[in-house]
């Protein structure tokens, strides 16, 4: 499908309209506000329905609850007020909302939704201080704090997922929970959410929710299985709830319109009322109606599922027919399409995840990670890039928001150079987005993990960078974050961890490394510790998954997904067409380099023995400076990312080993486990907690991000690209984040862009070792100097967008450790392909010590 009719692919002549620019300005001024609406309503109706007395909560229970919430929550058409930070606290300001999309995730302009069913209670200690805390404060009105303290949180003390899991688990489960609480081994995200997935909006847009309701009713009439009958009834309940919410917004818009004296605003409100009476109940007949359907379903999905990694999928595919029809009929201009998307992007970013203070210190700055995917090939492998792909790119450039997180697909054998050039240009313009995915490698990875070819070709990106078939893969791609250097620690210290002392056996004894005659023996000990760590993480995930099955079915998401309707089963019970759980590995490059260093220095050269190495690690290399210098010198000790066969082989061995370790493992929904290499901010968080490692990393220093080679290792861009491109994609089925930083160079822009495109093409091209080419790549195009200035004066850089390791974030929101990591990433000059020298930034306060 070649569907490009745009003359100028950059659409550079399209700018933000003044009303949209003003709303965007208000958005950036606004501080996040904790909103008690959702938790208060959910608690009230849970009490009324007696859900706190139930051991098992069904889809239908939840569906009735959400229907009531949708029928009773405040129908906010336009926001009028928000809060901004001042020297003295938070001050109210007013603004004029002009969005064509009514409704909001919370009742606030930029809200912090609370999910007491999950980790919402973590904010309890901070109710009086959260407005004033140093890291990313949220406004919380005193009355709202009281609502949470008296009317919400007490009811959930025995009924949140963490406590249900603890109280219902076996001793062994609680033992693993202890491991989880130690924070050093792995993070399981089910106490916080499942979320990470892409719903199927296509049916809602194409047929309307009424048709889906009728389908559910027909299936209900035919179903023999009582559980299936109940599920279909649940689908009816939630979809009726969404329709009612839309109608209430329509009535509210009509009511405001009746009082409005400004003719432009009056007309805008009347149009909202007209559209909201039609969709999402009926099929969308225009581009704007299609966007409205998606938006309202999105609001309902976030009512049910915490705001963490829920992603919107291939919107340029789902909406293209409506867009094309409107354009061809003269009902829509390209400018208007960009404008509508800009407004929708603002709506998508209308909420901020609730992060307690301790979480901010470790993992601060994250948004909701709502990925949108554009471009790529269709299910038959044909070019699916269309005009709307470019329209979405332009809207993203103009809005420069953290959420949504834009991801672009590119197939080296299918797509034009002009398309790739445009993707690179958008990165130059925004400094951080979109992330680029190589269809050839991703499709290979997905088919290796059980997708059919057509399903794999129709992949979308979830959360940060995780691929999964659009609308049919319940992937929970962020289920587990595993700190791989912890396995190395356990191998080095025979199942012990320095944090907890040598008298406490944490895992299994794999032998004192001093007794290993060969490197193969040490590597086997590491492998066993890594398998042990994965076993603990996987068992924890499955146990928590069963708690979700007992207490947190998701009828809203299930109603908007491919599979549950056909199977008559909620997603949590395996209703999706495809199921999986995702593992993200943290610290891959550090472990690979550590293994190479041990192989080289201990076994090949006999430069040091294990006793000496452990002494150096315990002392954070104090008194072992020559060893530290040697380890950090990539010319003398092979490092991953330097196109060195031994070091790159270490990385490849790691990927294959971890992939093998999860092969054949089935999760609680019958899906497989997939391993990926993206780290969000966890490489800084875990790095802060861990002692020195054998690759010359000192205690508390960041681990390398995603699958990226360590900073300072690789003087030449091409070496880094080649090393990563040659990793086996079939072992990276849960996605990867390869972070590169380019200097924004002066000079002729066309030439800079040529070099950018050449670098990406080189990375995506087939190599002798790896015919698929590199899988994913993402950029920061901001200089060290600008980053350092942004640290000194955050107010001047309050909209500075950065790629963390997967998602995008505002630099000012990141904790100091994470800021340091981004500043110190190797920065390359595109004109020469050489690394730029930089000065080290002092380590953030509070970093760990060995």
């Amino acid at each position: 499908m070649s569907a490009i009719t745009l003359g100028d692919l950059s659409l550079k002549n399209i700018k933000l309209s003044p009303p949209l620019a003003a709303l965007r300005e208000a958005y950036f001024r606004a501080a996040p506000e904790v909103c008690p609406e959702r938790p208060a309503l959910v608690t009230k109706y849970s009490l009324e329905a007696g859900l706190f007395q139930r051991d098992r909560i069904t889809s239908l229970d939840k569906a009735r609850l959400y229907r009531k919430v949708l029928e009773n929550r405040q129908p906010v058409v336009w926001h009028t007020r928000a809060r901004q930070r001042t020297r003295d606290g938070m001050e109210e300001f007013s603004f004029q909302d002009t969005s064509p999309f009514a409704g909001s995730t919370t009742a606030r302009f930029k809200g912090v939704p609370i999910y007491p069913e999950f980790l919402g209670l973590g904010l309890w200690p901070e109710l009086w201080t959260i407005s004033k805390r140093k890291a990313n404060p949220y406004y919380l009105a005193e009355a709202d704090a009281k609502t949470l303290n008296f009317d919400v949180f007490p009811h959930w003390m025995q009924h949140n997922i963490t406590e249900l899991a603890r109280s219902r688990g076996s001793d062994q489960d609680r033992q693993r929970m202890r491991l989880l609480q130690m924070l050093l081994f792995f993070i399981a995200s089910k106490p916080n959410c499942i979320s990470h997935t892409i719903p199927d909006f296509s049916r809602a847009v194409r047929e309307g929710l009424r048709r889906v309701i009728e389908d559910a009713q027909a299936r209900h009439a035919q179903a023999g299985d009582p559980a299936a009958k109940e599920f279909y009834q649940a689908v009816v309940e939630v979809l009726e709830g969404i329709i009612t919410y839309a109608r209430r917004l329509a009535e509210a818009a009509a009511s405001i319109s009746a009082r409005e004296t400004d003719p432009v605003r009056k007309t805008a409100l009347e149009e909202i009322a007209r559209i909201y009476r039609r969709v999402p109940e009926q099929p969308a007949e225009s581009f704007r109606e299609g966007l409205t359907t998606i938006w309202l379903c999105w609001v309902a999905i976030h009512l049910e599922n915490p705001d963490a990694g829920l992603s919107l999928g291939r919107l340029d595919q789902i909406l293209y027919d409506l867009y094309r029809r409107d354009i061809d009929a003269g009902r829509l201009t390209v400018e208007q399409a960009v404008e509508l998307l800009g407004y929708l992007w603002l709506k998508i970013g209308d909420h901020v995840p609730a992060v307690p203070n301790a979480g901010e210190q470790l993992f601060g700055g994250t948004g909701s990670n709502q990925a949108i995917t554009v471009g790529g090939v269709d299910e038959e492998g044909r070019d699916a890039v269309n005009d709307l792909t470019y329209v979405m790119l332009r809207a993203t450039e103009l809005m420069m928001l953290r959420d949504p997180n834009l991801n672009a697909r590119y197939h080296p054998e299918v797509h034009s150079d002009a398309y790739l050039r445009r993707l690179c240009e958008a990165n130059l313009n925004t400094g951080a987005t979109p992330a680029l995915h190589n269809d050839r490698a991703v499709i290979q990875a997905l088919t290796a993990s059980g997708h059919t070819l057509a399903q794999a070709r129709d992949y979308g990106v979830v959360g940060c960078v995780e691929p999964g078939s659009n609308g049919r893969m319940y992937s929970h791609s962020g289920a587990l974050l595993v700190n791989l250097p912890a396995a190395l620690e356990l191998a080095l210290f025979n199942g012990r961890h320095r944090r907890f002392g040598m008298d406490r056996l944490i895992s299994i004894e794999t032998g004192d490394p001093s007794s290993f005659a060969t490197f193969a023996q040490f590597r086997e000990a590491f492998r066993q510790q890594a398998v042990w760590l994965l076993d603990q993480a996987i068992a924890t995930n499955d146990w928590l998954g069963r708690i979700h099955q007992q207490s947190y079915p998701t009828p809203v998401l299930s109603a908007l997904f491919e599979g549950p309707m056909e199977k008559g089963r909620d997603l949590i019970d395996g209703g999706a067409l495809l199921n999986a759980s995702g593992i993200a590995i943290i610290g891959m490059a550090d472990v690979a380099d550590s293994l190479t260093a041990i192989e080289t220095l201990v076994y090949q050269e006999g430069r040091i023995n294990f006793a000496g190495l452990r002494d150096a690690l315990r002392n954070d290399f104090k008194g072992h400076e020559p060893l530290l210098t040697r380890l950090r010198d990539p010319q003398r000790t092979p490092r991953f990312g330097n196109d060195h066969p031994q070091a790159d082989a270490s990385a490849t061995w790691l990927l294959r080993t971890l992939d093998e370790a999860v092969q054949g493992r089935r999760n609680y929904r019958g899906g497989n486990y997939r391993v990926g290499y993206w780290t969000m901010t966890n490489h800084a968080g875990f790095g802060r907690l861990m002692g020195a490692t054998p690759n010359g990393r000192k205690a508390g220093e960041n681990f390398s991000s995603g699958i990226t080679p360590n900073s300072g290792v690789t003087p030449f861009l091409t070496s880094a690209l080649r090393s990563v491109a040659e990793l086996p994609p079939e072992c990276v089925t849960n996605g990867m984040a390869f972070n590169l930083k380019f200097t924004p160079e002066d000079g002729e822009r066309g030439r800079v862009l040529d070099n950018f495109v050449a670098a990406v093409k080189g990375y995506f091209d087939a190599t002798t070792m790896q015919p698929a080419g590199g899988m994913e790549i993402q950029f920061n195009v901001t200089s060290h100097r600008d980053f350092l200035e942004a640290v000194q004066d955050p107010s001047r850089y309050d909209q500075l967008l950065v790629r963390v390791s997967g998602y995008t974030a505002y630099f000012k929101d990141l904790n100091p450790q994470m800021q340091k990591e981004i500043i110190e990433r190797t920065e390359y000059r595109l004109s020469t392909g050489e690394a730029v020298s930089y000065r080290a930034v002092p380590l953030a306060k509070g970093a760990a010590h060995g």
């Binding site: 959930w156 003390m157 603890r166 301790a358």
Partner: protein
């Protein structure tokens, strides 16, 4: 801190007072706690904190509202058992016991008073460090820890030090 007789007498009198006056009473009888919260930390911190809470629940209707219908037993102890206290919440009242009760919903084992204060009250990075350095270990229902964190901070706010 107030003796049992003083506490019950003042508690009875306080019932007829308005909220602000009740908070003033809490402040007046909580100077040892204020000292502990503002820097002069001693090994008595835990006992003084729980004692201050108990007193505030007795004197302040508003503070007492925080534990309406709340029942739970907390045990706080150092790893070597040299310090041990329990807090028993039952039907809107709190009792402190200077021993580790055998039956509890939440047990907090801590290294020393500094670690405990940091864990319960600090917004600074060392509150996280407390867990990471294995200074504080929690068994049982974590929700109770969050609630106790709120109660401690709510009290320090009433005392004008939070």
């Amino acid at each position: 801190m107030a003796s049992a007789i003083t506490k019950s007498t003042v508690g009875l009198v306080s019932r007829v007072l308005p909220n602000r006056a009740q908070d003033w009473l809490v402040r007046s009888f909580s100077q040892p706690l204020v000292s502990q919260l503002t820097g002069k930390l001693t090994d008595q911190f835990l006992e003084v904190l729980l004692g201050g809470m108990s007193l505030a629940f007795t004197f302040s209707r508003d503070y007492r509202r925080n534990i309406e219908g709340f029942s739970a037993t907390y045990v706080y102890t150092t790893r070597d058992g040299s310090v041990a206290c329990s807090a028993v919440f039952d039907r809107g009242k709190m009792r402190m016991r200077r021993e580790a009760l055998p039956s509890w919903q939440t047990r907090v084992v801590f290294r020393d008073a500094g670690a405990l204060r940091s864990f319960m009250l600090s917004d600074e990075p060392d509150s996280l460090e407390s867990i990471l350095a294995d200074n504080v270990e929690v068994d049982g229902n974590l929700s109770n820890v969050y609630r106790m964190g709120f109660l401690a901070r709510d009290l320090s706010r009433r005392l004008g030090v939070g």
